[in-house]
Structures are given as C-alpha cells and as structure tokens.
C-alpha cells in the first residue's frame, strides 16, 4: 500500500511536470507580443524592447521554461502582464468562490443523482424508471451554457426567485450550483441505478427478505448504503469535469472564481495568468483522480490496488 501510494505520487508529479511543459509550449506559440501589451499602443519601440529584456522574453525557449519551473517550485507563478498583481494572489483571491461553487455542485448532483437512481432502480422497467432515465440522458446531453441561461430565464427573469447573477448570498449560489451539477446528476443517477440493481440481486438481500424484514427497512438499511459506496469513490473524478465547467458557468453567472479569471485572461492574452490557472486546475484534477483511486479499495476491500 505504501509503495503504491509513493509510486502514484511520483507519477502524478511527472504528469504535472509534463503539463507545465505542454502549456508553456502552447502559450509560447500564441501570436501576441506581451511587451507591446504591457507598454501600451503609444509606447516607443525602445520601451517595448526594454520590457522584453526585463521579462527575459529574448532568452531561448528552454532558458525561459526552466526559469519558470524554478520559480514555480518556490510557489511563484509569476506576475500578471495586465493586472498589477502576482498570479498566485489572483488565483488565491478567486479560489474560495470556485471551491464554494464546486462543493455546492457536488452536493446538488449527489442529492439529485442518488435520489433519481434509487427511485429508478426500485421502479425498474416501469414508467417512472423510463422517464427518469430519459431525464438523465438529457442531462448528460445538455451544454452547460444552455442550462444556465434557461435557468436564469425561468427562475431569475420570469419568476424572480433568484438574482440574475453575481456573488454573495445563498440565493446567488443556487442557480450556478444546479447548472454545474446538472451533468453530474445525470451520470450519478445512471450509476446509482445500476449499483442498486446489483445490490438488490445479492444473496444478503434475499436473506434479509427471507427473515421477514420490512421492504422499506431492507432498502434503507441494507441496499442503499451498499449501493452508494462505489459511487462516493467517483467524486474525485468530477473535479476534471468541474474544471472545464466552471469556465462556462462562471462566465454565464458572473461568478468571480478562477474559471472567470481564466476566461478573462484568455480574452486579453494574459499569458502568466492562463498558465497559472491551467497548472492549478491540472493539479486539482490529478489530486482528484488520485483520491478516487486510493478511496476505492478503502471503501470496497474487494477492489485491490494494482
């Protein structure tokens, strides 16, 4: 177990190293002159050249890359080209909003997904099951910006139950969380349904039934807790979906998180910020995948670590 964890940690570190290189190469190819951006349109050629020199943009590619990597290892993500701030400060100031949104989206997708999955499994092959499964298919086929805008239209513009966008109160949190969790609710409902059906067919359920336990009690005490376990282990994998989702959801709802930060940085070609957010997101995804792999055997001892 210890050896396995060590190996996985090492692998994760290598993957992150690879990601810094790939991102750096991609952003190196972006056809924009950062020095010109910083200096502004009216700056003289000399000023621009000075700024290029200061930023070390005249150095060979690998000199620039290893300088960046050296700084990164000391926790320094560089400075934004356009905002007078450290990238790490920008990310740190935006991270709490994104984390709040993601935690709330996880809660949303679990509540909806698990409930739908349980009902569908108990009503298997009946009307309720068919309608719920069609709903889950729709939810994995709907782009987040469409869901977001439609929710805004119905619940903010027409009904006025929630604010149209922004950040601050619980009311602001509801629609973005539902939008971000909508896709996951579809996946979880399908997984929960399969998992429930698996457990319902097992011997201990038959035993419980044979000894005369009430149906409701069997389901609440024996079936659901066992069926949930393999699904809880998947939560780590969601982080990958969320890291893409927040770019769209935060832009639709004006949510001040790292997704919005990334999107604004991409529009203004603020390379250090794009780089920083990509690395932070990738780290989160790698940690999420690692947690999912490590949690699976803890939750279900039949799964062995390879």
């Amino acid at each position: 177990m210890g050896g396995y964890i060590l190996r996985r940690l090492l692998e994760s570190a290598l993957i992150l190293l690879g990601i810094t290189l790939v991102t750096f190469v991609l952003l190196y190819l972006v056809p924009a002159d950062p020095a010109r951006q910083i200096a502004g349109r009216s700056a003289t050629a000399e000023t621009v050249a000075n700024i290029r020199d200061q930023l070390g943009l005249n150095d060979p590619f690998f000199v620039q890359y290893f300088r960046y990597l050296g700084n990164l290892l000391q926790g320094d993500l560089g400075r934004s080209y356009l905002q007078r701030a450290e990238v790490s400060e920008l990310v740190a100031s935006r991270l709490p909003a994104s984390l709040l949104l993601m935690v709330s989206a996880i809660a949303t997708e679990l509540v909806f997904g698990l409930t739908i999955g349980v009902i569908a499994a108990l009503r298997r092959n009946r009307m309720a099951d068919h309608s719920l499964m069609i709903f889950s298919f729709v939810s994995i086929s709907a782009p987040q910006f469409v869901i977001g805008i439609l929710l805004l239209y119905v619940f903010a513009v027409k009904l006025g139950w929630f604010p149209i966008g922004g950040y601050g109160t619980f009311a602001h949190l509801v629609l973005p969380s539902v939008t971000l969790g909508f896709l996951g609710a579809g996946w979880y409902s399908r997984m929960m349904r399969s998992s429930m059906i698996d457990v319902l067919g097992q011997d201990f359920v038959r035993t419980a039934r044979a000894k005369g336990l009430a149906r409701g009690r069997i389901i609440a005490r024996h079936v659901v807790p066992n069926a949930i376990l393999p699904i809880i282990a998947m939560i780590g994998i969601d982080i990958g979906l969320f890291m893409s989702g927040i770019v769209v959801v935060e832009s639709v709802f004006g949510w001040p998180g790292i997704g919005q930060l990334a999107w604004q940085a991409i529009q203004r070609v603020d390379i250090p910020v794009i780089m920083g957010v990509t690395i932070v997101s990738a780290t989160a995804i790698v940690i999420g995948n690692l947690l999912a792999d490590l949690m699976a055997p803890l939750i279900d001892p039949r799964i062995k670590l390879k």
Binding site: I15, I19, V22, S141, A142, V157, G240, M243, A282, I285
Partner: protein, 301 residues
C-alpha cells in the same frame, strides 16, 4: 380450434431475422429508434438545407425587426422568429445543422483514428512504446479539457477545420484508453501468439486479426464521442472561439444573441433545443449499440 394462436407462430420468424442485424435491433428499442430518427432528420436538413430554408439565412431583413428594432418572436413569416440583426432564425438553425454535423463527424473521425491508433499501437507493442504513449495519454487526461481547447483555438485563427482539429486534440484520449486495454488482453490470447509464431507481419496481425475484435468498441465509443464533440463545438462557439459568425452554428447563434435572452428567449431556446436533441440522439444510439454489440460491458440493466 378457432382459438388456436395462429398468428403467433409465423410472426416469430421475421422478427428473429430482423433482430439479426444491428440496425434491426436498434429500431426495436424505442430510445435508439428515436435517436436514429432525429439524426436522420438532421442529416436530411443539412443535405437539403438550401431547399428547405424559408429565407436567406444571411439576409438582414427589414421586415425581420419590429419598428423599435427588436427581433421578432416566432410566428408569421418567420416560423421561429428573427435574431438581433433581423435574420430568419429557422433558416440559420437549418444551416447550423451542417456546421454541427460536419464538425461532429470530422472532429470525431480524427479523434477516433488518433485514439484507436494510439491505443492499438501501445497495446500491441507494449514495452517502452506503451510506456511513452500511455503516459502521454495520462497527461492529456489531467488537462482541463475546455481550457486546453480554448487556448488552442486562441492560438490558431478559428476556421471549421481548426475547430474540428482542436476538438479532436482533446477528445481522442478516452478512445485511446479503451482500445489500449482491449488490445492488451487480446494480444496475450492464443490466436495472436499463433500468428506471431508463424511469422505474420505486424501490420497483418493488427489489421486482419486485432482490428475486427476491436470494431465494436470503436463503433460504440465513436458514436458516443460525436455527442461530446457536438457539445464541445457548441460551447467553444458560445464562448466566441469556435465557429465564427456569419457562418451559423447553434453555439454562436446563442453567443450573438445572449444579451437579449430576457426579452427574446427563443434565440436561446431553439438553438439550445437543437444542440440537446442532436447530442441526446447520439448518446441514445451509442448506449443502445453498447448493449447490442458488447454484452460483457456494464450498464446493461
């Protein structure tokens, strides 16, 4: 003898024969049949777009705006209403079907070829080849897909081909992993070992002996992949880094008109519905294909 169940017996044969083909089995499942019907209608709309579009999709019609200059709601001469520039929404949606399908098929085709190629090569040769290829696949898995696609789209000037390539670059990974795992287990089986021992060339083993076994997975994940591709294209176009106006795409129609969504919701509702219907259809068909072609996979209940 009048109550003998006569019709039941002969009815069995044609049904059995029909269920022999994959298409027949798809059509017997209501969800998959619905998906196939939607796909057929959309393909038809894309091919015959010039014949069925009620108006010129690029014409900024004077009659297409109210006196105050606002877009027209659905009804009358413009069945689905008009957009901010007074263009007929129905015609733009029909032409947008082409964009979605072309990118869906093209991007997914590239992703399937790339993913299956990487998976087969890594699984068959194993060793350091697999090490390098699969580590690279792991790396791509850890990338936030949408950020990567946006950065790629920002580097290159977005054209239809570039958008397709960008989407393919982020979407091949899933296929590579599935095919890698399957090829590895196939490679250890006797029939491949026999071919190797009698001196068959690598290409012959890969093409004639491994590929046929992998075909069902490629078809299943290829179909499901079109859905992912359609959604990613819509999202990129919605963010303004995908298909560029004036070429209509369902995503960029929403992008162009979203500031008006509270007064002109049809400009979000109809394109959104089109995206969901197309992505849903490929998901339904892909899911049914998974049941039909590969009964060993999970999720059959």
């Amino acid at each position: 003898m009048t109550d003998m169940p006569g019709p039941a017996a002969p009815a069995r044969r044609p049904r059995a024969r029909l269920s022999g083909t994959v298409l027949g089995q798809l059509l017997r499942r209501p969800r998959a049949a619905f998906g196939l019907a939607v796909i057929a209608i959309m393909v038809g709309a894309a091919i015959f777009a010039p014949l069925i579009m009620p108006h010129d999709p690029f014409e900024q019609s004077f009659d297409g705006l109210t006196l105050e200059g606002a877009p027209l709601p659905p009804g009358g001469a413009f069945p689905l209403g008009t957009d901010l520039l007074g263009r007929d929404l129905a015609s733009r949606l029909i032409l947008g079907t082409r964009t979605s399908l072309i990118i869906g098929v093209l991007a997914n085709g590239i992703a399937v070829i790339l993913g299956a190629g990487v998976g087969i090569t890594a699984g068959y040769f194993g060793g350091w080849v697999a090490g390098v290829l699969m580590r690279f696949t792991d790396l791509m898995m850890a990338f936030p897909a949408l950020l990567l696609a946006i950065v790629l789209a920002a580097i290159f000037q977005p054209s239809l081909l570039i958008v397709a390539l960008v989407i393919a670059m982020v979407n091949w990974v899933q296929m590579a992993r599935v095919i890698y795992t399957e090829t590895r287990s196939l490679t250890e089986r006797d029939f491949v070992q026999v071919q190797r021992s009698i001196g068959s060339g690598h290409l012959r083993i890969l093409g004639a002996h491994l590929l046929p076994h992998l075909l069902s997975s490629i078809v299943v994940f290829g179909t499901l992949g079109i859905s992912t591709t359609v959604l990613l294209e819509a999202t990129l176009s919605y963010l303004g880094v995908g298909v560029q106006p004036p070429i209509p795409s369902w995503g960029n129609i929403i992008f162009e008109n979203q500031t008006y969504f509270s007064t002109a919701p049809w400009l979000v509702f109809f394109p959104g519905l089109a995206i969901i219907l197309l992505a849903l259809s490929f998901n339904l068909v892909g899911d049914a294909l998974r049941d039909i072609l590969d009964p060993t996979l999970k999720g059959r209940h």
